[in-house]
């Protein structure tokens, strides 16, 4: 695809010069240990009206490439080589004021976290007005009218009302629409979307992506979609460019790249992407040694219920809005019905079973896992573990209870869940020290090293601090810490959500292997049905604090009974296979 004469390009594309023409782009960052090349010799062309997906894992340079195009690299970064042509202008050499005029008006960008991209104390309508006025698209007199038009264009229901909303009053998907509205307010020719749907629910993701594609088509814009999700890129882009370690390894049409991936890295990425009809083992690279069938520990009393949850409820008090003066003087309004985050759910987990808990944000799955972990007290209901009523022990005193070591959790964010000032070894040793294992000194170190080997963490990394470890290594530390006290039930709270797909594949396989070897039960909390399918025997689908569907995973996935489950399943972007 990398053709080096302009004539070829024109012939290959739509008989007109490309809107964006990047040649030999090299971006360097000055760091403490010398210069690092984040992007090396990248060629990229984008025709008018085309959608290009840039796919890669973290550190592949995909974001840096787009920052260079917008010329918003941070201070340490500089364009070392190459040219960036945008509509005939050389962005690399243009003056800062020229580029500033282009940004927002001719090229726009949307970011990963929509809430962070909006000013939290300004009405969203006003924020749109600001952009319109800044780029002389509106006068103060007609700005409001135009802002409402823009809101309509991004399909926001009741735009006149939403004009007055503050970002915190809107959902994540709604905020991302506002950000898109801001980016598109001046009708730019190029839109760069940097992981626009990461962190959004799968149904919201579909709505947002559909909107972006629709607007792209309607306005004949060019779009660059930066993502780590091959499925998403393939479903929404004309062409896909795969990057690895700052270099482009493959560029092809979306369909071609899935039918016949050329580069081994692309193949590896494709294999690692969870999709229909594959097992966990299939996610690992072809050349990975076939696991010597992990010694399966005979699960004592397999099938017996380990955890029984009955009518679990968590309510949060909700205060009716109080107006003006009454609010000022602390006069509380009539007490409204409490908000039920978890609304009477019942289920059980058998020994040696893994149960998936699926739902979108706000469905109560995290609240449920917090209550099961005994970090949060339920309002009512029973949590019975091995016949013992755990909800009788208040969450505050549970840390000292002998039951603490029986139930453990693997956190969603491996970075946030490790103490930045503890080495990996210290973090893994923490539960052993606190829960009366009686180990100390060399015996403790030996146990920690055993655990590290069990989770595949190189022993020489044990003395590093979290910031010196990669995402996958941190995840392993978190898993080692959770299994250190030899728990019977482990709750996995989206343990791979923050990881790259290839790392996710390895971690999921590790979890499966550990379960077989140690005979634990899992509750796997996730929003990703494909991942749940591979790891879990049974699945529970939750919505607004209630269970909407429950059953064997394969059965639920193949023939969902609830309308909501069907919607969830259909929103997963599938590669065109």
């Amino acid at each position: 695809m990398n053709m080096h004469t302009t004539a070829d390009h024109a012939g290959a594309n739509h008989m007109q010069p490309p809107l964006l023409d990047v040649r030999d782009l090299t971006v360097e960052f000055a760091t403490r240990r010398g210069t690092v090349r984040a992007v090396e010799k990248v060629d990229l062309t984008l025709a008018k009206g085309e959608t290009l997906g840039i796919v890669g894992e973290s550190g592949s340079g995909k974001s840096v490439t787009s920052y260079a195009v917008m010329r918003i690299l941070d201070r340490a970064g500089r364009i070392a080589e190459g040219s960036i042509g945008f509509a005939g202008i050389d962005i690399g050499k243009a003056s800062e004021s020229d580029v500033r005029a282009l940004r927002g008006r001719e090229m726009s960008m949307i970011f990963q976290n929509p809430r962070a991209a909006l000013n939290p104390i300004r009405k969203v309508g006003k924020q749109i007005e600001d952009v319109l006025i800044e780029h002389v698209q509106a006068q103060p007199s007609d700005a409001k009218e135009k802002a409402i038009e823009v809101l309509k264009a991004v399909r926001i229901a009741r735009p006149e009302e939403r004009y007055h909303a503050y970002p915190f009053e809107l959902s994540g998907g709604m905020c991302q629409r506002i950000v898109i509205a801001l980016a598109l307010a001046c009708r730019p020719q190029l839109l760069i979307a940097d992981e626009p749907t990461t962190g959004l629910d799968v149904t919201t993701q579909k709505a947002v992506m559909d909107l972006v594609v629709e607007l792209t088509r309607e306005r004949n814009m060019s779009t660059i979609l930066i993502t780590h999700d091959l499925g998403l890129a393939a479903a929404y882009c004309d062409r896909v460019m795969v990057m690895e370690k700052g270099k482009v390894v493959e560029t092809a049409n979306a369909e071609a790249i899935f039918r016949a991936p050329q580069h081994p890295y692309t193949r590896k990425l494709m294999r690692a992407t969870p999709r229909k009809g594959v097992s966990l083992r299939d996610l690992l690279p072809e050349d990975a040694a076939p696991a010597a069938a992990a010694p399966t520990a005979p699960v004592k009393g397999a099938g017996e219920p380990l955890l029984v949850v009955e009518n679990l409820v968590k309510e949060y008090p909700r205060q009716a809005p109080t107006g003006g003066l009454a609010g000022l003087f602390g006069i509380k309004g009539a007490v409204a019905d409490p908000f039920r985050a978890v609304d009477g759910i019942s289920f059980s987990v058998a020994r040696g079973e893994s149960l998936g808990l699926v739902g979108e944000s706000g469905c109560g799955k995290s609240t449920t896992s917090m209550m099961l972990m005994r970090l949060l007290d339920p309002t009512s209901g029973r949590i019975e573990f091995k016949g013992e009523e755990l909800s009788a022990i208040p969450a505050k005193r549970f840390a000292g209870s002998p039951w603490r070591s029986r139930i453990q959790l693997v956190f969603q964010d491996p970075t946030d869940s490790l103490n930045p000032r503890y080495t990996a070894a210290r973090a893994i040793a923490d539960p052993l020290l606190r829960m009366g294992s009686g180990l100390a000194g060399a015996a403790l170190r030996a146990k920690v090293e055993d655990l590290a080997r069990l989770v595949g963490l190189p022993v020489n990394l044990l003395d590093r601090f979290p910031h010196q470890l990669s995402g996958g290594q941190k995840a392993r530390v978190g898993i080692a810490r959770a299994i250190a006290p030899d728990p019977e039930l482990v709750i996995l709270d989206e343990p791979t959500a923050a990881l790259d797909v290839s790392v996710q594949a390895v971690v999921l396989n590790l979890l499966q292997e550990l379960k077989q070897r140690l005979g634990m039960s899992y509750i796997f909390v996730s929003h990703d049905l494909e991942v749940v399918r591979m790891l879990c025997d049974r699945v529970i689908v939750m919505r607004s604090g209630r269970i909407v569907e429950e059953g064997a995973t394969e059965a639920v996935m193949a023939a969902p009974k609830a309308e909501y489950t069907r919607e969830l399943l259909s929103s997963i972007p599938h590669p065109p296979l």
Partner: protein, 291 residues
């Protein structure tokens, strides 16, 4: 966007880390140098000064700076250079003791109020509000006047007026980390609340507290000197920068500027040095910077 450069980064020794920080910010180097000078003066000052700081020599009173008396002499003919050097120990002791006191008390109260919230937070918050309600220097004057004119009481008074600063910093930082993943993880590992507070949260707040320590250190010196200046706390003839400035102040009009000038400049440099030291100290103790 993350760059895969830290993968194989070897662990720095503290020394090479310190060297890097100084190279990155030369002002930190100057601050550390000044600090070393003050520390040296405090440790061995009394043994190396050329003249006895208390010996008066009326024949040589009010001499301007010369080769014999580098900083000149005061109205009683005492050597100002010797007095300035010897005073370093007393001023440093007051500053270090009061900051250590408030670091422990204020830091703990702040972390506890940020972590537990509720009544702990309310009580600690109102106590520090009450202290903040007074003009701080006037409060320190009041405390020393009421408790008695001793060095111990200057230390206590300086610690008390700095208490709210420590509480606020520690409280805000602990509050952010209260629900952090690693704190939850510590709970799951069976840590008691007190252990989470001191073993998990406190070490993470240390870098920010270090900056606070360095800033209040300068302020504590200034405060002690200020109290002595108005006649509270240290009493003459003990050499102390504040008293020396006070004594010299009346001679400025008659042209003997050096009596107040040299202790004043020393005081200024001490405060300046501690303020600059803050950033350097934070960089030194922050593990994130060691990549």
């Amino acid at each position: 966007m993350s760059l895969a450069v830290t993968e194989t980064a070897p662990k720095d020794s503290l020394f090479s880390h310190a060297r890097h920080i100084v190279a990155e910010n030369p002002v930190t180097g100057i601050a550390f140098g000044l600090f070393a000078l003050f520390a040296l003066a405090a440790l061995i000052g009394p043994y190396v000064v050329p003249v006895d700081p208390l010996a008066s020599d009326t024949a040589a009173a009010l001499q301007p700076p010369s080769a014999a008396h580098w900083f000149g002499t005061d109205q009683l003919g005492r050597d100002i250079f010797s007095r300035v050097v010897v005073a370093a120990r007393l001023d440093m002791i007051i500053a270090v003791a009061s900051v250590a006191l408030v670091f422990v008390a204020g830091g703990f109260a702040g972390i506890a109020s940020g972590y537990f919230g509720g009544w702990t937070d309310r009580i600690v918050g109102r106590v520090s509000d009450t202290i903040m309600a007074f003009p701080l220097f006037v409060l320190a004057m009041g405390i020393v006047a009421a408790l008695g004119n001793t060095v111990t009481n200057i230390v206590i008074a300086t610690a008390i007026i700095n208490f709210p600063l420590y509480v606020r910093v520690a409280r805000a930082e602990a509050n952010i980390r209260r629900e952090a993943g690693f704190v939850q993880a510590a709970r799951l590992s069976g840590n008691s609340e007190m252990r989470i507070l001191l073993g998990h949260i406190a070490p993470n707040i240390l870098p920010i507290m270090m900056v606070q320590v360095s800033l209040t250190m300068g302020y504590a010196i200034l405060n002690a000197a200020g109290l002595s200046f108005i006649g509270l706390g240290v009493r003459p003839p003990t050499p102390e920068w504040g008293i020396m400035v006070a004594e010299g102040a009346s001679f400025i009009i008659s042209g003997e500027w050096w009596i107040a000038f040299f202790p004043g400049v020393t005081l200024m440099l001490a405060v300046f040095c501690f303020n600059l030291l803050g950033d350097g100290l934070r960089d030194l103790v922050d593990p994130q910077r060691r990549t």
